[in-house]
């Protein structure tokens, strides 16, 4: 495997697909669809190949040597003069135990979302081209180890997403699309400023011994790479580092979305077409929490520790607020959207604990939420395709009419509630184990557990209103799932149940890296500073 640019392959494969689609004719709708399916299929295979070659004992996080599938090339180099240091940016990709699950998730969700895109009818060529571009953006974020590259991929997704919601969305699509765009850009411009600040603070020593400013994330994690008077240097007594942390956190929090920056999410979800909702909930939201784990935590461990209570607090607010609002929804899709807000709260809570259990739970929850919520949105999509409405009170007794569909619904709903033997249970349990064990946030953890109860409340109530009871005669002619829909639900259900029964399958991937991260945050900087 060594030397083969597998990460570039998995990242840029969709761009290749996009180029192929550009050369196809508008009328070749089916060819376009199969091309996309093939590309995302290959991407999935490549991701699985990566998993098979993955070294479970490699740390990653801050140590370049223990990252896997590394690709590092000089991308931009401009020799310096006295007033302008050498400009050097690397094309630097690598994977560790935290990004591996995300890569798998991206590949799986993209593949499923392609299947779910089958009945898109409007300008198919544009849709799939943008879809693939979005895929590249997502994958790129998870494999980048250079802040500049990370930022480019991060921003690369905005435009395709804007169009995918704006062109193929529902009645208020224009509003939802621009709201999504402006919110995210608002967050990312702050990220840009922090990125520049870090660039001017951190150095990297080149092979010939010269020190140059760098965007290399791993270099930024080592305090010895900071000069004493650097703007964001840990040795700089000013509170700029604190402000920068907050600014960066806001950038990520908007994407999660963390209360009070969540208001774009329900709009975007309700208006987006089903496959885009699947992508949005399945992958895009994870980028926020992934960014915090990959960038905020290891680069600013000192401040992370100061703020852990606040992160946990916002996690708790997310969990409870999301759940309460979900209870009040009359629109099926909006309910799922708010349940997402609630479930991402668990990720925040787990991360805030700074324990191995908590952060493993958080990363695992990111993966599980990705698969489970993808299923939930597909479930809504199935019903909406057939009935063209999503009102929770307009249905009833669908389980009679569509028994197989109802079966998958039950799996997804119970996984979302966190029933034992489903993947959601394990991750939520770990989150609570982690957060409860830390004295500082124990109260928040206890309060958050109310969210499970509320979650069961809105999920079961929905199950009852839509699927149980007497069949509403209006829907007596709804058909059950077809083969394509089977293909979407079966793999996801298998994953959800498999990881519920055998969670180590996923946890083993991340354990080493999560341990490293926890150690780094808890005492990494201390060694140098005190």
């Amino acid at each position: 495997m060594a030397g083969f640019p597998i990460l570039s392959l998995v990242t840029f494969l969709p761009v290749l697909g996009m180029i192929i689609i550009m050369f196809l004719k508008k009328e070749q709708a089916l060819t376009i669809k199969y091309t996309t399916l093939l590309i995302t299929g290959i991407q999935l295979v490549v991701a699985v190949v990566m998993l098979l070659n993955f070294n479970y004992n490699a740390q990653g996080v801050f140590q370049q040597s223990s990252f896997q599938f590394i690709e590092k090339f000089r991308w931009i180099q401009v020799p310096g003069v006295s007033w302008l240091g050498t400009v050097k940016i690397d094309y630097f990709l690598g994977v560790d135990g935290i990004s591996m699950p995300m890569i798998l998730l991206t590949a799986i969700v993209s593949f499923i979302a392609t299947l779910s895109s089958w009945n898109i009818e409007k300008s198919i060529k544009g849709y799939f081209a943008l879809f693939l571009l979005l895929d590249t953006g997502m994958m790129g974020v998870f494999v980048s180890l250079d802040f500049f590259l990370f930022y480019i991929f991060w921003e690369l997704m905005l435009l395709p997403m804007y169009f995918l919601i704006g062109i193929w969305g529902g009645p208020r699509k224009e509003y939802a699309a621009i709201k999504f765009f402006i919110y995210t850009l608002f967050g990312s411009v702050f990220m840009l400023l922090v990125m520049i600040g870090l660039y001017f603070s951190a150095f990297e020593t080149l092979a010939d011994g010269t020190k140059v400013h760098t965007f290399n994330l791993l270099a930024m994690m080592d305090p010895s790479n900071f000069s004493a008077n650097g703007i964001l240097s840990p040795f700089n007594p000013s509170n700029l580092r604190f402000i920068a942390y907050i600014a960066l956190f806001v950038g990520f929090a908007i994407k999660i979305p963390m209360f009070p920056f969540h208001t774009w999410l329900p709009d975007a979800h309700v208006e987006a077409p089903t496959p885009i909702s699947v992508i949005l909930a399945g992958v895009l939201l994870k980028m926020g929490t992934y960014g915090i784990l990959r960038i905020s935590y290891p680069i600013f461990p000192d401040i992370t520790k100061q703020l852990m209570w606040w992160i946990a607090l916002f996690g708790m607010i997310n969990i409870l607020y999301g759940a309460f609002v979900a209870l009040a929804q009359k629109d099926f899709k909006k309910l799922i959207a708010y349940s997402s807000v609630s479930h991402m709260g668990y990720v925040l809570l787990g991360m805030a604990s700074l324990t191995t259990a908590g952060i493993s739970g958080a990363v695992f929850q990111m993966f599980n939420h990705g698969t489970i919520t993808a299923m939930l949105f597909l479930i809504v999509g199935v019903i909406y395709d057939r009935a063209h409405t999503r009102g929770l009170d307009e249905f009833g007794g669908l389980a009679v009419q569509m028994p197989i569909y109802a079966g998958f619904v039950t799996v997804a709903f119970f996984a979302a509630i966190g029933l034992p033997s489903m993947s959601g249970f394990v991750s939520e349990a770990l989150v609570f184990v982690g957060s409860f064990s830390v004295e500082g946030i124990r109260v928040l953890s206890i309060l958050s557990s109310l969210g499970i109860l509320l979650g069961a409340g809105y999920m079961l109530w929905t199950l009852q209103r839509v699927y149980l009871g007497k069949l509403n005669e209006k829907w007596a002619n709804l058909k059950d799932l077809d083969v394509r829909e089977y293909l979407m639900f079966v793999p996801l259900s298998i994953i959800v149940i498999f990881l519920g029964v055998y969670p180590s399958g996923m946890l083993n991937i991340m354990t080493t890296s999560v341990n490293t991260l926890v150690n780094l945050v808890n005492n990494g900087f201390a060694k140098v500073l005190f």
Binding site: W75, I76, Q77, V78, V81, S82, W83, L84, V87, S123, Y151, I152, E155, L156, L158, L159, Y162, F163, G166, I167, K173, E174, A177, I178, F181, I182, L185, F186, V189, F190, L192, L193, I196, G197, Y199, F200, I231, L240
Partner: protein, 503 residues
């Protein structure tokens, strides 16, 4: 001033001589072949290429030309350095592009009988701009600005097709003459205070403690009015939307890029030559504390970009919207100046190069669409992205780049401006800057919304650009994308062109 000095100096202004020669050539050509105007653009193009040859040869050359007194031989009226040459190249490239735009433009085609004058006036503008970016004497500064202004006043109303052409021209004349009058007044005060019009001489004289600070500050603010007018910085920007909307698109494009570049070149050189005591080793300038340039420029910058962006939000006419957007961009560029360091100037040069590509590109597409649609109203763009995919995608690239999103070149420009600010620890200003770019997203994306998201009320017209038009568009789209991903060349170029001959 002796003859040998003049001859030596002439060697330094070869590009200017080439422009003048081309101007005369076009004029003569127009007189001889007054029946057939088709050849004139070719003659003009030839002239531009000849000029380009001399400009490129001038890279690396430094020197002072036309010293006023033999005792001050080193301090001439004209200063040739890489900084000025960079701006000359920028002006020249945009002139070449505008020349191609003109050959496609329907507006210009309708006035073929006056085509000779059109190109003569464009050469007049170029000459004015070339002199502006290398002038280090108030006399030449004023004259070159007037040369540029007078040519552009006429060009703004050149087509005389609609009322708004004449309106644009008249407004331009009125605003222009007021601001140049103010500037002249400021110059006369400075002359009264120092007894010299040469910036180098003024620089050394105003360091003396006897200088009247109040009078000097007053004079400098008046001079800023003149320069602020040229770069359309708030609060001297009121002419911009009307003139940009009323002028032929080719001229609007030229004004928005080249004229602004010349204004910035002049402003930067004026401040550096007139007020910098020295450049520190880390790139920061030591400015004469007699006048708080930093405060003035920061205020101007914030005012300019905020006003530009917020006014652009309400515009339906695309030319008008781009006019406000160009005001906002002047604000970002002023941010780069506000740092008063080589880093800031390098950022300005990078930004200008990128801005030239994306802004000219946007104007080109608007022109191609307006020629078919007869309208620049954003509501008429509904559904255009589907019927004219090539133009739609290209315009999308330019607008995204103007917003400053990666992976387009516009992002690189913004990156360097904000890097310069962060490096100078001007955090609050940087935050205001990035928030402004979030605001700008709304009106740029609004055009895309109309092209792709809004259902058209009537079947949109299909616009198929010709092969040469497509080629020209690609000539701008490809670099915008390429430099967004691989920007070493522009950084390298800008880094080498920061050299300003002075203190």
């Amino acid at each position: 001033m002796d003859v040998s000095n003049i001859i030596e100096s002439l060697k330094l202004i070869k590009p200017e001589i080439a422009v003048s020669a081309s101007l005369i050539l076009v004029l003569i050509f127009d007189l001889i072949f007054h029946k057939d105007k088709k050849l004139i653009p070719y003659v003009a193009l030839l002239g531009l290429f000849a000029t380009g040859y001399f400009v490129i040869h001038q890279f690396g050359t430094t020197g002072f030309g036309f010293a006023t007194k033999s005792t001050f031989k080193a301090f001439g009226m004209v200063t040739v350095d890489s900084f000025g040459t960079f701006f000359k190249l920028l002006i020249l490239i945009s002139a070449v592009l505008v020349l191609f735009f003109s050959s496609f433009s329907d507006e210009i085609k309708k006035t073929t009988d006056r085509l000779g004058e059109y190109y003569v006036l464009i050469f007049g503008m170029i000459l004015g701009m070339f002199l502006m970016v290398s002038a280090t004497d108030f006399l030449l500064i004023y004259l070159s600005m007037e040369l540029l202004s007078l040519s552009s006043y006429v060009l703004a109303g050149f087509t005389k097709l609609r009322d708004r052409n004449s309106e644009a021209s008249l407004k331009y004349v009125i605003y222009g003459s007021v601001s140049s009058g103010l500037m002249l007044f400021g110059i006369s005060i400075i002359y009264g205070l120092t007894g010299s019009t040469n910036l180098y001489v003024i620089n050394s004289l105003i360091q003396s403690p006897q200088i009247n600070v109040l009078a000097l500050s007053f004079a400098l603010i008046l001079v800023m009015a003149g320069m602020g007018f040229k770069i359309s910085a708030a609060p001297f920007h009121f002419w911009t939307p009307d003139v940009y909307e009323g002028s032929p698109i080719t001229i609007t494009a030229f004004l928005s890029v080249a004229s602004k570049a010349a204004g910035f070149g002049l402003l930067i050189r004026f401040i550096k030559t007139g007020f910098a005591a020295m450049t520190l080793n880390n790139g920061y300038w030591m400015l004469n504390p007699i006048f708080d340039w930093k405060l003035i420029i920061v205020i101007l910058a914030i005012l300019t970009m905020t006003l530009g962006n917020f006014s652009a939000l309400w515009q339906n006419n695309l030319k008008r919207m781009l006019a406000y957007s160009s005001i906002a961009h002047a604000g970002y560029l002023l941010l780069g100046l506000a740092v008063f360091s080589n880093q800031g100037i390098a950022a300005i040069l990078i930004y200008f190069f990128v801005y030239m590509l994306m802004n000219l590109g946007a104007f080109l597409i608007v022109m191609l669409i307006a020629d078919k649609l007869g309208s620049e109203d954003v509501d008429d763009y509904d559904g255009l992205g589907y019927t004219s995919p090539f133009l739609g995608i290209s315009l999308a690239v330019f607008l995204v780049s103007l917003t400053g999103l990666p992976p387009t070149a516009g992002f690189i420009g913004k990156l360097y401006i904000f890097s310069a600010l962060i490096d100078a620890k001007m955090f609050v200003v940087a935050v205001i800057g990035v928030l402004n770019s979030v605001v700008s997203l709304y009106y740029y994306i609004r055009v895309l919304k109309h092209m792709y998201l809004v259902k058209p009320k009537i079947q949109p017209v299909e616009i198929i650009p010709g092969l040469s038009q497509k080629f020209l568009v690609l000539l701008l789209v490809v670099p915008v994308l390429f430099f967004g991903i691989y920007f070493s060349p522009i950084v390298e170029l800008a880094k080498n062109c920061v050299v300003l001959l002075g203190f």
